[in-house]
Amino acid sequence: MNSAITPSTVGSALVKRGLADMLRGGVIMDVVNPEHAKIAEDAGAVAVMALERVPSDIRRDGGVARMSDPQMIQEIQACVTIPVMAKARIGHFAEAQILQALDVDYIDESEVLTPADEENHIDKWDFTVPFVCGATNLGEALRRISEGACLIRSKGEAGTGNVVEAVRHLRTINAQMRRLASADPSELFALAKDLQAPVALVQEVAATGKLPVPLFCAGGISTPADASLVLQLGAEAVFVGSGIFKSEDPERMAKAIVEATTHFENASIVAKVSNGLGAAMVGAETATLEQRLAERGW
């Protein structure tokens, strides 16, 4: 047997993006306490997002939304075996440092919280823990990746139970990637300028036809059919925030969305799990919103 006393590397891009690869085809659920976290894990969630209030309550309460209490995050870490994510405010690198010190598995630099910096996002290369960031279009996604994000999610419009914005963002990102893939190499410099994104990343997307990191969907998913829709539109996993614990029967809704995510191409399975689920969360028409969270970040 060879003995391999070898140097090992932590926090490499491969290791950080790799955890996102492991979450593919899964459902990441927002939870506000250990009981919710257990329900999520029992239902087959691939990870939980620990936060003090789900987005629909943040929206209702108003005020400044911040990182969660470390104690609450630790209680959730202690009660589940799946990865635990937590949110930091846009640009608030000190909150991110705290979350890294708490050993969370992924940090969401999230527009659901109140931004702490109106110009700069967190320099995510500085961290060993990986980051997920929201995006509404390809340029925004590539800017986040250039700052070190290892996973991109559509922003959608969190806390509304309305999938329309997530669909818009996914379709926009995919259409813009198709445009790059069909462009002549000499056009990519001007396209990079239009997208306000680094040329090297634009060239990479043009060559591969996909983002260099996984693309997940968030913001407004509240039924198994919503999950199937966004996966068919090219999302590789889903974040569900208010959609589970604001529904009539969270346990059943959680299990149903997990199954619909796996079997998104099989409409008869999605139909079966959608049967008699009880009421989904009460939704909101995005045109009537006072605060659009997706406009936070740039």
């Binding site: 391999a4 690869d21 593919r24 899964g26 087959g44 799946i82 050993d103 598995d105 997990v258 796996t262």
Partner: protein, 197 residues
């Protein structure tokens, strides 16, 4: 060409499919019982073992797969897939179950949480070095007498097996599918070819 399935309930299915394609095998995604027909072997990918085990039950795949695996059907599990194939799982959920095809004890997240996830080269005797990517990886803490240890790693506290085999069942605690190196998958396919001859 051998038809190799990739269990596609959740996890990094795409990376395994790409690796198999690069080796000239014909991968097929397995999501329901009817997808098992005619397969020569199956890969259980990395992902979350709690999620994959839950979906194995809801999809009805658990019993037929258990039958196949118990009768010597070739299987290869990476990371979460190794957990699914082990006989003993430490630090799992109270209702954690597995196929018991490889007589090892694995500790879930045995190398630590994500912040401790690492890359380290792995030496495979006589075959060369492969990149090892360990992500919230399970650690093999005990091997039964019928288990062959193919590669080990010293991560600062003594040698632990990281690639093992018992008969036609293979498991590794790292993710060979996440790099362009195909050596580990090649070993599994060679053994599968040998068994079918």
């Amino acid at each position: 060409m051998r038809q190799v399935g990739v269990l596609a309930l959740q996890g990094d299915v795409r990376a395994h499919v790409t690796t198999l394609e690069n080796l000239g095998a014909a991968p097929r995604k397995v999501r329901q019982v009817s997808d098992l027909a005619g397969l020569d072997g199956l890969i259980i990918p990395g992902g979350e073992s709690t999620t994959i085990s839950h979906l194995l039950i809801t999809s009805g795949l658990r019993q037929p797969l258990q039958g196949l695996i118990s009768s010597g059907f070739p299987v290869f599990g990476t990371c979460a897939g190794l957990i699914m194939l082990a006989t003993d799982v430490i630090d799992g959920r109270v209702d954690q179950w597995s196929f018991g095809a490889v007589d090892v004890s694995v500790r879930r997240n045995g190398y630590g949480r994500q912040i401790a996830s690492f890359e380290s080269p792995i030496v495979i005797d006589g075959r060369g070095t492969v990149p090892g990517v360990f992500i919230r990886a399970p650690r093999i803490e005990r091997c039964g007498p019928d288990v062959s240890v193919i590669a080990t790693l010293d991560h600062g506290d003594g040698e632990h097996p990281v690639l093992v085999r018992q008969g036609s069942a293979w498991g590794c605690s790292f993710h060979p599918e996440l790099t362009s190196d195909v050596l580990v998958h090649g070993l599994f396919l060679d053994a599968l070819q040998e068994a079918l001859r």
